[in-house]
Symmetry: C2
Subunit: 374 residues, 2 copies
């Protein structure tokens, strides 16, 4: 059975310390349910990383969503797309008619102090948190392929520019390469404007069965893989292989080539992430990702815009909500309702989220989904 | 397609502050994989409440379980049975041939300080943590049905007695009613020996497709429901309705009556929990649960032993691991390999886990599964 996205919704993304998680969830879910013409929901999958137990049940029972299976899933930054993936599978397998996928994160409440590295964990012992891990990938990539700091900054310039037209985004100020490079250093070579900000937010999608004449956005494929051991002698930087393998499976399942994708939301938690990911997705050869920025290939107006929403760098990155916000953006793009940031005549869209990356592993999870316009 | 439990395994349960979560997982998963004759695992569901992101991926990649979907699920105390339920569904729906369900919790690392009540949450504001919630259910029940403190203590006496024969249990000391009542008061009328202890542990099960002649324990049904709004004017105490409704669905799906069940593992996080749960499961009329203790009905040697493992009260309650430890116990009972705590000629077994219970809700989730001997 083919699954279809019948409705999507999101809250505003940004620091909202005085907003209860219930409100974030209500905003996103209410919009998604209305958008889907309010079907009866048979089950709910909830993506969150640091949400308290019951964070979703607490909010959803006020919306009348009780007595059904509600399952919280976690896969680090890919938690939201994991919820989407499980919802899609349950519809594809014929288990449920309508499944709600929700993602939520209140990072201003929970993030500071939420990560306690274990004393026996090499990652914790070495202080190798994710910004450092991405920075090491960046410096290796720079050394091997001659990527400059200014090339890296161009990712931030593009995505911050896209977000100007996204009224739900956290940061809507355009920046120049000089401004990006002059912002505070976080983990050399990654400056502040090259790192996604702490955000609160929620996003949701209603998945149902596709029937002829139905107007929803069709799910051509959705693939979830967990990362294998990463070897420092690998030909590729950390993270590349997991994204490549997941994307290869998703392209094969959808029966398409990378060149056929019209619009993409991918995991640009740090600028180097987008460069490596666009290569892993097959948009450019390894080592050539920056060319997509220099010739405008992945900018709005180019043939394959990447992160038209502003991406994690500008929309913000409330961990569990991110994957479903990416889904929402691609659904709007494929429906032609993305307003000032609409990519013309988009027929196929792709969402990619990379989650985690613990000591020695490529990543906890990667999800790649291919969606098709109604 | 019918699902079958091909193998189970657990770690020792108890306070193990110096044992890394990896070791707990390796012990449980290695035993389960060997028990199942090492099939190729297609996907993994992991139940944990306070486990760090990646807690399972980190351990599993050392066992060669990489590149496949690994999904962490959370449903408060029912997280382990939620992982089991999802694994069973994926096999029943024909999505995967062999799915591993794992539960893990390192409570000596993470529990103290892990629960931060939100300022806007009535439960947090009132200090109504779970012991208090169960204590209120106990006092209402005592007031309505004349249950005595000694009746309550009999649950602890029975389950601590059962655990003497369970070499994996945290507490293996038998206790008298007097000892139970004389232990430190936690939340009146619940004394220390009537509350489950803080524990570390892991448990695992391998689920596969049932085929004629296969020797696994057959999954007759598995049902997951989330709690609805609880009304203080209800005829029943908190928690009863969710367990009853979930059990009714599970009995109907299995095509059996409560009287046909031969052995049960249920959620005795606090003594009152087992009394209310045995009524909700249909073993006794409402208000008559204590009679099951007085006549030995639910003791080992009785017609329907409840918590032969010692239950949460004595085996210990590492949240995410508990549900799969319950599954493991029922599998051993149905195979006839439970040793000194074996219930004779058990053909049908039942597992029930209740998760959470946030402000105003019956429970985050309840899972009831019915298993059948090979």
């Amino acid at each position: 059975m083919t699954a279809t996205v019948l409705g999507v919704g999101t809250s505003f993304f940004g620091k909202q310390p005085d907003t209860h998680p219930n409100e974030l969830i209500w905003t996103a879910v209410s919009e998604a349910l209305a958008d889907a013409d309010r079907p009866r929901i048979d089950a709910v999958y909830v993506g969150t990383v640091f949400g308290a137990p019951g964070v979703a049940q607490r909010a959803l029972h006020h919306l009348g969503l009780t007595g059904i299976p509600i399952i919280t899933v976690e896969n680090a930054c890919a938690s939201g797309t994991t919820a989407f993936h499980e919802a899609v599978q349950m519809v594809e397998l014929g288990r449920f008619d309508h499944v709600l996928a929700v993602g939520v994160e209140k990072m201003t409440d929970n993030f500071a102090g939420a990560i306690h590295p274990e004393p026996t964990d090499p990652e914790g012992r070495s202080g190798l948190a994710l910004p450092s891990l991405y920075a090491m990938a960046a410096t290796r990539y720079q050394s091997e392929f001659g990527l400059t700091d200014a090339d890296l900054a161009m990712v931030a310039v593009k995505n911050h520019g896209h977000a100007v037209a996204n009224e739900r985004a956290q940061h809507r100020t355009p920046h120049t390469v000089e401004e990006v490079l002059a912002s505070r250093m976080i983990a050399d070579p990654l400056t502040l404007l090259q790192c996604c900000p702490i955000a609160d937010g929620a996003a949701a999608a209603v998945i149902g069965r596709w029937t002829a004449g139905r107007t929803g956005v069709k799910v051509r494929s959705s693939v979830l893989r967990s990362g294998g051991l990463w070897d420092h002698r690998s030909d590729h930087v950390w993270g590349f292989e997991l994204v490549r393998d997941t994307a290869d499976d998703a392209y094969a399942a959808a029966g398409i080539d990378p060149g056929e994708v019209d619009v993409i939301e991918c995991h640009d938690a740090f600028t180097i992430g987008e460069i490596v990911t666009t290569e892993a997705l097959g948009l450019a050869d390894v080592g050539k990702g920056a060319s997509l920025l220099h010739d405008g290939h992945t900018a709005l107006g180019g043939p394959q815009p990447v992160n038209p929403s502003g991406g994690l760098l500008s929309r913000g990155h409330p961990l569990g909500a991110t994957g479903l916000a990416q889904i929402a953006e691609i659904v709007w793009q494929l429906r032609g309702t993305a307003g000032a940031r609409q990519s013309p005549s988009a027929r196929l869209g792709l969402v990619e989220t990379m989650g985690g990356g613990v000591a020695g592993i490529d990543g906890n999870a990667c999800v790649v989904a291919v969606l098709e316009a109604p």
